[in-house]
Symmetry: C2
Subunit: 203 residues, 2 copies
């Protein structure tokens, strides 16, 4: 098996951290999303949505979408559990991962995609007022996340989970999106220092 | 347990169809998202993101995000499986559900939220050029979905799954979003007629 990725892009990083937490090593193959390389026919055949990462299994099956790739590894390598345990625990991790992804992560990504000059040839059309509206959304999502982390060690509860990975990658993605670090949010900063210090954060 | 929902809103409908496919009956409580009722303190305490549906368990645990609610019921009532079976099958359902949700479903919702006059008091700010850009995205997502359904009985493969529910709800949501039905896409229409004829579609 192998993973096709663009190093340093946020979604491939989610999978890289997930695998590092599990202690799984998978060969990586680099393709540069910024150059339009994902629009080549051979890559589109693997993922018609033309995005990285893609996990290619030995039988040729191609799995894209980072959460789907992580789900595959959770199934074949359950320890440590990163999608929660028990019916309620699994639902809570899914809920928190979605809240962070559909909220903060997507808002930061929208600022990057719709305002950064480097994205003009990939995000067509760039919609400047949409990028601006998402700057406000980033703030409201950070406020909600800070309230959560005031009462919980990790995003989804007492244990580190995929929701922490999504939140960590979202916050680190604020820098290329030219958004100021969330230093005014004390609970986020407490949590951020902890999760950033895990060896997986540099995977 | 009970589910708090707004009848006819797309995300509560995803859960309603899912439960009908499982044969599970859960009491429903109506709150009208259009009136701003979800911004009341009692509801915000259940879901700080102020969205329906929310599943409230007997111990008071509140699960929001429709896919997380569905995941809970998949765990406690596995048959028939709607999130796939086996590591590859589960990853493929997750991949397809995400492709449809982050693609078609979100694009249709963005058209509705950013262009419909009825949404002006809820979607602040409405970004008209973003709504317009999503009309084009709906078309490209339909084209990809049509290609998939040319080669597959259901969205995620040979079996009906949560990905079909997400796609069905997205397509039915095109009407309130004032988008024309996808009649030019023959494979989507073949599939649409089949899934619409299931008893769960009217749940």
């Amino acid at each position: 098996m192998r993973i096709i990725e663009t190093k340093r892009a946020p979604n491939p990083r989610r999978v890289a951290i997930f695998l590092a937490e599990k202690g799984i090593d998978v060969p990586r193959e680099e393709r540069d999303l910024m150059s339009g390389d994902l629009r080549q026919d051979d890559f589109s055949a693997l993922n018609p949505w033309q995005r990285v990462p893609v996990l290619v299994l030995d039988d040729g099956t191609a799995i894209s979408e980072s959460v789907a790739i992580c789900r595959y590894f959770e199934e074949i390598h359950p320890e440590p559990p990163l999608f929660g345990t028990g019916a309620i625990g699994k639902a809570e991790v899914e809920m928190w991962n979605r809240r962070v992804e559909l909220g903060l992560f997507n808002a930061v990504a929208s600022v990057f995609r719709h305002l950064h000059p480097k994205m003009a040839h990939l995000e067509v059309p760039q919609v400047t007022p949409w990028g601006e509206a998402n700057k406000e959304k980033v703030e409201s999502e950070l406020t909600r996340l800070d309230r959560r982390l005031a009462e919980s060690d990790f995003v989804a509860g007492a244990s580190f989970s995929i929701a922490d990975i999504t939140a960590l990658v979202a916050i680190d993605f604020m820098k290329p999106a030219k958004l100021a670090a969330p230093e005014g949010h004390a609970h986020i900063m407490r949590w951020y220092q902890e999760v950033s210090a895990r060896p997986s954060a540099s995977a």
